[in-house]
């Protein structure tokens, strides 16, 4: 009865979905006059560890941990969620390579809630024990390490590891055998490629740089995207208009923040049908991405209020909620 192995997990997620923030709750947070009141509001909704003096960062980090704790608790196969944990893992690799090569001091530069926590990653990189790393990490780590050591080019080091992360996400999606995870991974890589094209265009990067940075995926052609990026921003929009990311082309014309919001909203749109599934991993993925989206939105509101942004400027960056 393999199709029923998610029955318990999905039912539990259904119950938990009741606690997710709706668009109306987000409006209520936005309506709070100060950042302190907004923070208090989310604490009253049960967010954070319960400590009265908890600050925004630790509260939001705790919420992220809680979301992962639920998934680890209910998921029959946690490896299906690698597509979501890889960004943190590869971030740790990037931070460890930079720290090992430059010796730059840095506090809190690592994520601890992933399969290889910061200090362990740093030890692997410092001892050059790259073979201990999983998947495509050994090759990427060695190349990035040597590149940074010989050229001192931090950006190139980032590009090499980021690309390896995108390839790992895409491969994990393909291997998962779950259509929704495959779609999530493919969309993640496609959106990252579009971001690279837009930023490379703005900063006048070469085709070679983009080829190095972009990872192949199903839903867009990196060759055509690179050609479009070299031809101009309008050409990127024109190319995207003929793909599944036509909405992104419109958002690009509006503003960079509108494009970033569109990227997250697009993922939410992909996930929304999972609210009606009962026997698949989809609702678990939908819940986790929904939680991450909700945490990101609350962070945008709180930091916006802390920095005195007007409500309209914050509202423009607010993401669509999963429920």
């Amino acid at each position: 009865m393999s199709d029923t192995k998610y029955t318990y997990a999905v039912a539990r997620i259904r119950a938990l979905e009741n606690a997710l923030f709706t668009d109306a709750v987000i409006e209520q947070i936005l309506a709070c006059p100060t950042a302190e009141q907004a923070l208090q509001f989310v604490k009253e909704k049960g967010w954070g560890s319960g400590a009265a003096d908890e600050d925004m960062d630790s509260l939001l980090n705790r919420e992220e941990e809680k979301a992962w704790e639920v998934i680890r608790d209910v998921a029959p196969d946690i490896h299906l969620f690698d597509v979501l944990s890889y960004p943190k893992l590869y971030h740790n690799l990037k931070a460890a390579v930079k720290k090992a090569c430059t010796g730059a001091p840095g506090e809190h530069i690592f994520y601890e809630d992933c399969s290889i926590p910061g200090q362990e990653m740093l030890k692997i990189v410092e001892n050059k024990e790259f073979s201990r790393l999983p998947g495509n990490m050994p090759g990427a780590a060695q190349e990035a390490f040597e590149t940074l050591l010989h050229t001192g080019d931090g950006q190139l080091c980032d590009v090499l590891i980021d690309r390896a992360a995108l390839e790992a996400v895409f491969e994990a999606g393909e291997k998962s055998g779950e259509p929704i995870i495959r779609d999530y991974a493919d969309t993640t890589v496609a959106i990252a490629d579009i971001r690279i094209a837009v930023r490379a265009r703005k900063t006048g990067k070469t085709a070679e740089f983009m080829q190095r940075a972009m990872a192949p995926c199903r839903s867009i052609s990196t060759e055509q995207l690179i050609r479009a990026a070299l031809a101009g921003e309008d050409e990127i929009s024109r190319y995207l208009a003929g793909t599944a990311y036509a909405g992104g082309a419109e958002a690009l014309k509006e503003s960079p923040s509108a494009f970033e919001r569109w990227c997250d909203d697009r993922m939410t749109e992909i996930m929304k049908p999972q609210k009606y599934q009962t026997f698949s991993v989809g609702p678990l993925l939908g819940y986790l991405t929904g939680r991450q989206n909700e945490i990101k939105t609350v962070r945008i509101i709180l930091t916006g209020k802390q920095n005195g942004f007007p409500d309209d400027a914050i509202r423009e960056r607010i993401r669509e909620m999963y429920v």
């Binding site: 009865m1 029923t4 029955t7 318990y8 997990a9 999905v10 039912a11 539990r12 997620i13 259904r14 119950a15 938990l16 979905e17 009741n18 209910v74 009962t278 026997f279």
Partner: protein, 158 residues
């Protein structure tokens, strides 16, 4: 007296009870997993999800009913075994098949529908009546099979 006749008739009773009982066990199990998931997060919904979990259990009872009637008819329960020809034994076996087969498949399908309905209870407990209706629709076909098995077994002259 042909011994094969009584063997076929007993096999009919066994098919009715075994298949429908297995279906119910699987169906109640599936719905039970969903119920446990909801109760883990919200124990206040225990009574509602329990009722829905029990719905796929009826097929097992229908199979048991047909099994009892069959055993009674062939004299296993009454004390003296009836003298059954092979053709009568096979007729009884055939009469037991509808509730056996339909009971097995409908209970599994009902278990899955019940699990989905438990999802409704998790999110909208006030929609309990509607949530009950979806798995109850599957019950229709188990009842039809029960009816045919019942009429057939009681209609066969021993």
């Amino acid at each position: 007296m042909s011994e094969l006749g009584i063997v076929y008739a007993l096999l009919g009773a066994a098919v009715a009870v075994l298949l429908s009982g297995t279906g119910s066990a699987i169906g109640v199990g599936i719905a039970g997993q969903a119920a446990a998931g909801v109760v883990t997060e919200d124990p206040g919904k225990f009574a509602k999800v329990l009722i829905i979990q029990l719905l796929p259990g009826t097929q097992g009872l229908y199979g048991l009913l047909i099994g009892f009637i069959t055993l009674s008819k062939i004299g296993v329960l009454g004390g003296g075994l009836a003298d059954l020809s092979v053709s009568t034994g096979l007729l009884i076996l055939a009469a037991c098949l509808p509730i056996g087969v339909v009971g097995l498949l409908s209970a599994i399908a009902q278990g899955k529908t019940a699990a989905a309905s438990i999802g409704i209870i998790a999110k909208k407990p006030d929609q309990f009546a509607k949530a009950m209706l979806f798995p109850a629709m599957v019950e229709t076909y188990a009842i039809l099979a029960l009816l045919i098995s019942f009429l057939s077994v009681t209609g066969i002259q021993v």
